[in-house]
Symmetry: C2
Subunit: 333 residues, 2 copies
Amino acid sequence: MTAVNRQIHIVELPKDKLGPEHFRLAQGAMPQAKDGELLLKTKLISLDAANRAWMQGATYRAAIEAGQVMAGGAVAEVVEAKAPGFANGDLVFADTGWQEYAALPAKHAQKLPRIEPLSHLLSVYGIAGLTAYFGLLNVGKPKAGETVVVSAAAGSVGVFVGQIAKLKGCRVIGIAGGEKKCAWLKSDLGFDAVIDYKAQAVGGALKDAAPKGIDVYFDNVGGDILEACLFRMNNHGRISCCGAVSQYDGAAPRHGPRGIPGLIVTKRLTMQGFIVMDFNAERDKAMSDLQSWVKSGQIKVPEDIMDGIENTPKALIGLLAGDNFGKRMVRVG
Amino acid sequence: MTAVNRQIHIVELPKDKLGPEHFRLAQGAMPQAKDGELLLKTKLISLDAANRAWMQGATYRAAIEAGQVMAGGAVAEVVEAKAPGFANGDLVFADTGWQEYAALPAKHAQKLPRIEPLSHLLSVYGIAGLTAYFGLLNVGKPKAGETVVVSAAAGSVGVFVGQIAKLKGCRVIGIAGGEKKCAWLKSDLGFDAVIDYKAQAVGGALKDAAPKGIDVYFDNVGGDILEACLFRMNNHGRISCCGAVSQYDGAAPRHGPRGIPGLIVTKRLTMQGFIVMDFNAERDKAMSDLQSWVKSGQIKVPEDIMDGIENTPKALIGLLAGDNFGKRMVRVG
């Protein structure tokens, strides 16, 4: 075991766009596990748009502060268990932060099954896959034959939203940035239609792609794309509000989309926010469904893995710019 | 029976604020009922913010067109029934338009019980009361002990939303315009707290009036007040989207409230639009609840009645300016 613990510190909270200057690589001391704690070795760090949102203030977790190790979830291995119910070698998901080793209370670690490849624990069987599952099925409630639109469609959650909606018999339209990503969604993941928001006006493109209107919109981005979808929703449509990535990486939020609340009233829409923890009670059923779909090949598992903890800031900055194809993570151990 | 049918025509659709110049009093011919139709004598015309929204284009009903009799619902009496199931003297609710007599297909008329005073058929037992009932109980779903906020609290719907929420054990805060209305909501209708949006900044006032945050916001207005409430909602709060009266009487809708979708995600809020027809299946239960609450004195029925069809434009313009205390209507017959 090395005596050094490489870490990424956040030097200063971004006021506008996040850049490499907001981070620095540091060498911390090896942490020690106290009674009730686990010493963890980080294996795979999850990169999420939410990492950026945490820098804007308290959300469902406390805000991130400058001068500390950057927060972030990871798959980690227990190297020293000082808490009942855990053994050395166990795999857990925990907010280790961006560092090679972390010691934290066992109650903050969630034991994971040893599934190979481990990366699936962060993609399809992790928060990304479960978010897609619950946000689409429990919040969006699509019926066979309905039209489902998903934004950030090539992102960690979007790739599963689209595939699960297809599997449920829906017409699926993905909104993503760039020709390459859009082509990939159609050819590799089976989307019925795609809209490249960098090349096309989304409102007009939706008229062609969703001639019968939209029944379920799974919103990962907010902003102008949410507005464009609002104007194409069918009566009694559902908008599953998963994230607002268009508004994380910048200054104070702009005004909201036009049509709120007017269109919500006249079309009797439901907009509902959720986070995956709200559905913990149904987690086993979701995992079992996802595993059977992966095994049968009904859903593919795109992953976008970078190596080396020193690349974690770059991985997040790129994620916010939309560089990733599927779930982005950094392999550490 | 007079041979003349006094009517209010809409001369021109308003581009901005609605004024008396958009209407004219006209004398139409007495309509004739064809087979399958009813000849109706208008008794009480219902004034609603929705009347103004219809002038902006198609909503859940077709848009209003210039040069025609102004559309509007009314309690009317059947004077000549040429359709099975109806008899002379029956009371119905129908879109007679703003005129003394109308002939229309019987299938567009809804038979009403002969409840006295007839005005209750437009207030507590009409769309106003049912909208409050379903929008609060079926959409907002308040639990005893929760905090409920309602805007346009002195309006036709708001007065019942507040009283029903009190009856369900909630803390109730009303937002209304003007000292007199606000005082009345507390002294006569039992609201726990009131905010005069013309005299106070709503965001700051909500901090004092709702120290534990808002669980249910019944939104009649949209705009800045919706935005202020969004920022004070508790996790898992519900926003019942009933109307957007702040945005009906003017030009194109402004941008939506800040915090959408960001706050919807982080607080896991639900915003849901509805119209009363969506709940037709549960109408009998609602009517029976409302009747028992009125009989027992648990809810009061404020009504704001003007006389004479020539006053209907003034009644609507005043309603949009917030002049009314409770349900506004015009007595015609």
